[in-house]
Amino acid sequence: MQRPHDDLYRAPPNLFRAWRLVIEFLWRIEHAFERSRTRNRPVDDTRVRIFGVLVIFSMLFLFLAVKAGAVALLNHVEVGVEGPTPSIHRADLVDRNGEILALDVPHYGVYLDGREVWSAKETQTSLVTVLPHVPVAKIDEAVSGKRIVLLQSGLTAEERDQVHDLGLPGVSFQEEPRRAYPLDHQASHLIGFADPSGKGLSGAEKALDADIHGAAAAGGHIALSMDLRIQGALEAELKRAVELYGAQNAIGVVTNVQTGEVLALANLPDFDPNHPGDGDPLTKINRAGAYRYEMGSTFKMFTFAMALNEHVARLDTVLDTIHPLQLGSRTIHDSHAAGKNLTMEEVFLESSNIGTARLARMAGIEKLHSYLQNFGVLDRAKIELAESVKPLAPAEWNEDSGVSVSFGHNIAVTPLAVAQGVGGLMNGGHLLPLTIRRREATGAATGPQVISPQTSQVLLQLMRKNVTDGTGRNAEKEAPGYRMGGKTGTAEKVINGQYARKRLFTSFAAVFPTDGPLDAPRYLVLVLLDEPKATAASSGNAQAAWNAGPTAGRVVNRIAPMLNVKRDLTQVAARPIDKPLVEDVSTDAQ
């Protein structure tokens, strides 16, 4: 039988009963705890248990001691002392005499680590006063941040000290070496420049990047082959040439033909590597290596070298220079036809296109091609500089294209390639790669023999004769007594695939001294002028004999003493200038 009151009776919570249950439960625990002692089991014994705790602590302390030893002795961490990072630091660049060209000047980036900041307010207010160019919001963000933030880079040592002296926790500095070029514009294309992260971008800075970093790590410096005095003379004379003849660009290269060392390399206009972002981007191009030009008659040296070495003719062999040369649909004229046949020597001295073309045909285009390959002018000039490009040469070597090449037409090469190739002709026939680094060992040139020493000797004499009797006479006037030899070249520039008759590119390759043994010290001066004008200074002429030639002569006159070449006035060309000083322009004569 159901008792309805049972539910009602049990329903209200009986607090007293609950309390009694809790107390009963607690007492059960108390008694169980009490019994645990009286059971006398060793595992419940206080001594055993304290001993257990003791053992655990012993092990903990032993572990900590071992770990402390491991941390202190096995980790090799240098705190606060940043070792030199070879990837950023660059060694000094010096010229061959140790004059400084480029150096690292330490700048600093200031960083803030918000986690180490003690007083946000103090940090903010004091940083604002010494770093006025940093936005306040940026400082605020850095102060409350949880990571290291770059506040400003490019601080000088003085500015860094100002920040440092605030004594703020969380502020740190990172050295940012910035490259300084104390010469400013001077030798800017040869030296080049590096970006703020320490990566070389042009010139020697790019070409020798790995070695510069390596030398920085070793604490040394890198010596370039360049001689600052020669560089200065070259740049001054190029500048004068630009002023006198109104040339757009002037390019100059001075090399030691016995070693391949580049003693000077200049382009005008130039730039300031300290501020590589400023100015016309075109001024940063090293045209000596990165631009290709049709050289015109200067290139005839290679054809003559081939012809002499192959013995296709002797210097007194008479060549038909009266009749224009038929080349398919084209006819090769001489711009100043002598009206008579010329000897091979006269062809060189008067720079006859027809005569040179005949030499090429006599030897065969195949021969010319292989010789030009040997002379290195069908490839990029071998030099450390990245700014050295391949020439634009005919894709197909046939009678037509090859004959044009023989007088410096239909082939565009870099001035550096010309300097390399001509150098190989003037040192006994050894083709040497160019270098922008100082060579320690000097001695006889060693390199592939591209022509015989006899041919080299004859070429030297021919070059000398061209200066005393040929198109180089104006150059000799500027450098009397230095036994200079040289070859002029005047080409019409190719503009949009067409030869521009009034826009010339003139060059002069001078070598001095031409006397002495084949392995005697000998230097090459290559001057190239882009679009010189016919001015009063060039007696109303725009050809190489009147601008590039005299410029090269003036360079030789200035640098010869620096190179220990003695002036010998008995060697001055005494002969009066009786012939008109004209030369063939490399042109696509109709």
């Binding site: 007492w27 705890f33 206080t46 001594r47 055993v48 705790v53 402390a68 941390v71 202190a72 705190v79």
Partner: protein, 391 residues
């Protein structure tokens, strides 16, 4: 019998101090004295950097205060170790009541710092009452466990857990999760040593774990810390990393006194990372010396406690040494980057008045309980014949 000999500390000196000198474990006393001295000396090297950073006009601001605290701690060691075991529990009772009372009113009079009301201003010094409550609670709990086992009708376990519960609730209100964990660990070990049946331990461990999870989910800053603990790669372990680097750079003989760099980049070198700062400047030699001194204190203390014959004295003394030992182990482990947490001080070495004085109190009480008195130690030291095995 008369004693004409008035030489102090002679064997025959029966004055309170003379008695104290001859009954106290002098090796323990010496180790504690060295530790207090080292704490004061080291603070002169590491704390000026902190004083300058915090804008104190006096570079030795913290060092001088640490010296005062050191003297205070030495006084507490002396004053407490003179007590009898009965006096020790009476003192503990008073300290516990005062500390709990202050903790109750702390939300109203407290001096908030770092997001928690833990400190009370006292004449230019701010003290943390919970630090003093810890040893008192351990002594009282040990006493209650002992009473419970006597079977004289004292509900010791309930009282001990009641005392513990009040303390934990007040700590969680502050909130101070670190102290809660410390107290729980020490209380648990004390309960264990008092002879709790092993199967209870499993149950209690489960309750503690459950409480840990509940609390960690309830308090956001605790939750953050747990989260960091569980995923150290994402955690902001900046200070700990720096500390480990500093220890490594110290090597065997250190960078040299005052040459440490850690104190310039890490704010807590004079407190939580005092060990790393010392290891950086004085090397492994000093850091091993520190570990050895603490190990000596804890192990010798436990050994002495083990040999006591009275259960209350045994458990109370052992519990106090556990309190010291766990704090040393946690702090050194943090400094060595073994566990990724912070906020624990190294006894006597870290700067801090509460920590220094409370450690003086703890070791003073522990020395009082381990003093040699007639009947305090059983006749034989062997484990087999110990305690309950006797008839």
């Amino acid at each position: 019998m008369t004693f004409s000999n008035q030489q102090p500390f002679a064997r025959t000196d029966r004055s309170a101090l003379g008695l104290w000198w001859w009954t106290t474990d002098r090796f323990l006393l010496l180790a504690v004295a060295i530790l207090i001295g080292m704490g004061v000396a080291l603070s002169f090297g590491t704390s000026p950097a902190a004083a300058i950073r915090t804008g104190m006009s006096q570079p030795f601001h913290y060092a001088i205060r640490q010296t005062i605290f050191g003297i205070g701690a030495a006084g507490l060691v002396l004053g407490m170790s003179i007590l009898t075991p009965r006096g020790a529990r009476r003192a503990s009772f008073i300290i516990y009541i005062v500390a709990i009372a202050i903790m109750c009113v702390l939300p109203f009079i407290g001096h908030a710092a770092k997001g928690a009301d833990r400190w009370v201003q006292l004449g230019g010094f701010s003290l943390q009452p919970s630090e003093f409550m810890k040893p008192a609670l351990i002594v009282l709990a040990a006493w209650m466990f002992a009473e419970a086992q006597k079977g004289e009708g004292v509900p010791g376990v309930s009282i001990a857990f009641g005392l513990y519960g009040v303390a934990v609730v007040l700590l969680l209100l502050q909130p101070d999760f670190g102290q809660t964990v410390l107290i729980t660990m020490a209380f648990g070990v004390t309960f264990f040593m008092a002879g709790v049946p092993l199967r209870w331990i499993i149950g209690l461990a489960g309750v503690a774990a459950a409480g840990f999870v509940t609390v960690s989910l309830t308090f956001s800053h605790v939750h953050d810390r747990i989260h960091k603990f569980l995923s150290p790669d994402k955690a902001d372990t900046h200070q700990i990393d720096k500390a480990t680097e500093a220890i490594a750079s110290g090597g065997l003989f250190g960078r040299g006194p005052g040459e440490g760099l850690l104190k310039r980049s890490v704010p807590d070198v004079h407190t939580d990372f005092a060990y790393a700062g010392a290891a950086e400047e004085y090397g492994l030699v000093l850091s091993l010396t520190l570990i050895a001194l603490f190990a000596f204190v804890v192990i010798r203390g436990l050994q002495r406690a083990m040999k006591l014959s009275d259960p209350y004295e045994q458990v109370a003394a052992a519990g106090l040494f556990v309190l010291v030992g766990q704090q040393v182990c946690i702090n050194v482990a943090v400094n060595l980057n073994i566990i990724p947490t912070k906020g624990m001080t190294l006894p006597f070495i870290s700067y801090g008045g509460s920590s220094m004085l409370a450690m003086g109190l703890t070791l003073g009480l522990a020395l009082a309980l381990t003093r040699r008195r007639p009947g305090a130690y059983s006749q034989t030291d062997s484990l087999a014949s110990a305690g309950a095995a006797l008839p």
